[in-house]
């Protein structure tokens, strides 16, 4: 099964579970969790079921396309269901069958793994799912987001697409994976991997990036004060990515580093509160729809 077929199979499966199939969010981010479709929508009492592929950029993991396992940008398939369904484990295992993984021929296990992202004030409990000893999915019941208690609790599934594909296609090098008939990951991503690594480690204009960080942060604060949650959150994401670029370049000293992280965290916390307040002001529209 190539990657494209995998994605289509997962989309079909979760669509059948009444998930909204979203498209990737168009701002750079380090993890699928950071998409507003997860981070913001997991907050508050409204039901929310969604699935999407999210490209995740981690500048520090860039390896010029030379490392068989590490990438500047990899892909996650993200599922959020709020409130968490009682049969979520079964739904998940069914999705593996759709990927051609027969549980009777493999050893599938749920091994305790608790997830925490201090930058987003987020934490959850759950497992990493093992397929014959390989971690293929992060399975998390959110307990806290943006410093607020999750109630009702949303469940998050994060499939590592390249990981799973390397198992399904039995390939050792991520660049050898087949994306679709006759087209490999290398064909699509080698040049961007190389160029982004070069940019990240050698060419980025750090003065400009520092300026951008400050500007983005200011704009995030300004828009938040006006109750514009989503525009504000976009600027938080931009702050986060800009910070990651600076950090990978090694130009942020240790003391500054903690400072930057706590600046982003403070923004994320404020946005979480503002988001819930805004939804409440609107009368939690999705909640009402559900009742009808």
């Amino acid at each position: 099964m190539n990657i494209q077929e995998m994605i289509l199979a997962l989309q079909k499966h979760w669509s059948e579970q009444n998930c909204i199939i979203m498209q990737a969010y168009d701002v750079e981010k380090g993890a699928g969790t950071m998409s507003p479709m997860t981070l913001l929508r997991s907050l508050g009492p409204e039901p929310w079921n969604v699935a999407y592929v999210e490209p995740s950029r981690r500048p520090d993991d860039g390896r010029y396309g030379e490392n068989p396992n590490r990438l500047y940008q990899h892909h996650q398939f993200q599922v959020i269901m709020k409130p968490s369904p009682d049969n979520i484990q079964e739904l998940y295992l069914d999705s593996l069958k759709k990927l051609g993984i027969d549980p009777l021929e493999h050893d599938i296990r749920f091994v305790e793994d608790n997830w925490e992202n201090p930058t987003l004030g987020a934490a959850g409990l759950g497992w990493e799912v093992w397929l014959d000893g390989m971690e293929i999915t992060q399975f998390t019941y959110f307990q806290q987001i943006g410093g607020l208690e999750a109630n009702p609790v949303a469940v998050e599934l994060t499939y590592g697409i390249e990981r799973l594909a390397s198992y399904i296609q039995d390939k050792e090098n991520v660049f050898d994976l087949e994306w679709t008939n006759g087209v490999t990951v290398k064909d699509i991503f080698f040049q961007p991997e190389f160029e982004h690594s070069t940019y990240t480690f050698e060419e980025s204009d750090t003065d400009m990036l520092f300026q951008l960080f400050t500007m983005y942060e200011k704009e995030a604060n300004r828009t938040m004060e006006k109750g514009l949650v989503f525009p504000s959150y976009d600027y938080v994401l931009k702050c986060s990515h800009t910070f990651n670029l600076l950090d990978a370049r090694g130009v942020i000293s240790v003391t500054e580093r903690t400072g930057y992280i706590s600046r982003i965290r403070n923004l994320a916390r404020k946005i979480a509160k503002t988001y819930v307040a805004e939804r409440e002001r609107l009368g939690f529209p999705l909640l009402k729809k559900e009742e009808k």
């Binding site: 968490s84 609790v153 000293s253």
Partner: protein, 694 residues
Amino acid sequence: MAKDVLFEIGLEELPARFIDSAQSQLAEHTQIWLKDLRLSYNKITAFSTPRRLAVLITGLAEKQETVEEEAKGPSEKIANDSEGNWSKAAIGFTRGQGKTVDDIYTKEVKGTSYIFVKKHLEGKPAAELLPGFHEIVESIQFGKNMRWAEQKLRYARPIRWLVGLYGNEIIPFKIAGVKSGNLTFGHRFLGDEITLDDPVKYQEALRENFVIADPKEREKLILEGIRQLEKQENCKVPIDQELLDEVRNLVEFPTVFEGTFEEHFLKLPQEVLITSMKEHQRYFPVKSVKGDLLPRFVGVKNGDSHAIEKVIKGNEKVIHARLSDAVFFYEEDQKKSLNHYLEKLDRVIFQEKLGTVSDKVTRVVHLTRQLTELLELDKDTAVIAERTAEISKFDLMTNMVNEFTELQGVIGEKYALNFGEDKAVAIAVREHYLPKQANGELPQTSAGAIVSIADKLDTIAGCITAGLIPTGSQDPYGLRRQTSGILRIMADRQWRISIEALLKLTHSLYPSLEAEKQSDGQTGKELQEFFTVRASYLLKEMGIEQDVIQAVLSREIGIINYSFDKAKVLSEKRNDEQFKYIQEALVRVLNLANKTDLFEVEPAYFETASEKNLYDKFHSVSVDFKAADEDKDAELALSKLGELAEYIHEFFDNNMVMAEDKRLRNNRLSLVNNIARLISDYADLSTIEWKQHF
């Protein structure tokens, strides 16, 4: 007729580390519950797997025991008013018991007459009481709880089904939206839904559906599987009990398998191979009969052996990828120099208020120097220790430690040797992280011990100065563990330096934080108290009584093994009939002392032989005591004090200390105070609750 009962809690996969405790809590809580309910039974058996906790009660009585109970009321005096009628108290009591004053009878208890009524508690049917089991389910404590969906309950993992079976009837109860029934589930992939109609068939029904409900049996099956492989392959699989405990709780139906990896990976440090296998993949490493690590591993799968080759192949692929990464890191790491890593340390923060790791290393080097001076260690050791301190943290910057954090120090030793450091330095780099656990292995070399103390001392004093004092179960920097570590190393090394002298070395290490605090000496007190609490804790673990601990640590912790020895000696004497005579003498002195601050004794003022004798004996004992004290001989020092006993008794029996004559009185008080001071140099014996009286 007695019936059997089964309760089962079906869960999403429980963390392996919670399962054993949950099973024993379930058994215990059920036992207490049935006792409180006055329901008799034959036997309670608890079961557990990652997906279920269950308890089987055989031969449960159909009804509660019916009991005749005596209820005790107020005393007869209170139960009667002045006119001989029943008082309000008496009437209230009978009403409270559902009786009338006609039921009252009186009985004497310890010389006082009380009123009583007889109560007949008719037993209720068990079926009525068993739904109360939901309280037992909710009473189980886990290390960490969560919420799910819209439920209020906090539990280790979501509850998905409940079984309550009384004979063949369902015991109805409900928890977090789940209703009890008679349906359970076998193995997630190999088993079916099972309708239970008899509690005692539970284990068998599960077995048929690929679930081994008894963790001990799963353990046995794993061990048998491993033994068989050992025989077949002529190899040795060392059993790490902790890993075995975890693995048996990661599966419902264990199947042991063996996989291999490429031989060239064996060039990696053994610890890297073992950590990859054990910690990351939960495999058992395999050794040759001679004890060399082989390129193989033993894993345990959850399920039967169908398509086991696929599972083995998958696992081999994973370990191959991990070890390939490790080789890549290992080779990359060797390309750099030691100085390269040291320079990087000033980019890593140790703790926000305590600066970078580089800053920490500077402090540890400084402390190491001071310690070697204080301990008057030889030049060679001092040089080794200082070099160790300088490079102690370099490995934190390597790819390998970045990937295998648990190998800090171990990688430091290997790499230090590769980079041409002295062997003694390399060993000490590894040892400076010891002990890693409460009862963990201690540094074997002096240099390792010194740098370990210096490193921990800096962390503890730094965090306490920065206000990061552990509270309750929160001790993110491991300050308690590290404090115990220092105390254990000092005791093990038998270094004759008091803990207070060690603490003093940290006084001026954090000038900016101290200035910020603006509380003179406060940190010193907090630090001292922190160490005293840890020292008490260690003594308590040695079985020393609280009062003895207090007696020994009241003034200072002092030289740790001397204080520990004193505690052991006193703990023994505390319960020793033979010591009574001495103890009484010493306490007689202490009881009278400290009421004045007189210490000047004038022999010319003595009036009786007994006071002169005591004075002379005190002088000779003082000399001997000080010698024993100097030698840190706790037993001898106390026995020297004991030599005073006879003279003390004589003195008190024949002299009136609080004499009318002021000069005489003060002289005697001074003598007593001097002796008391000598005794207190040993320990504060007045706090001990001497037990030989009984």
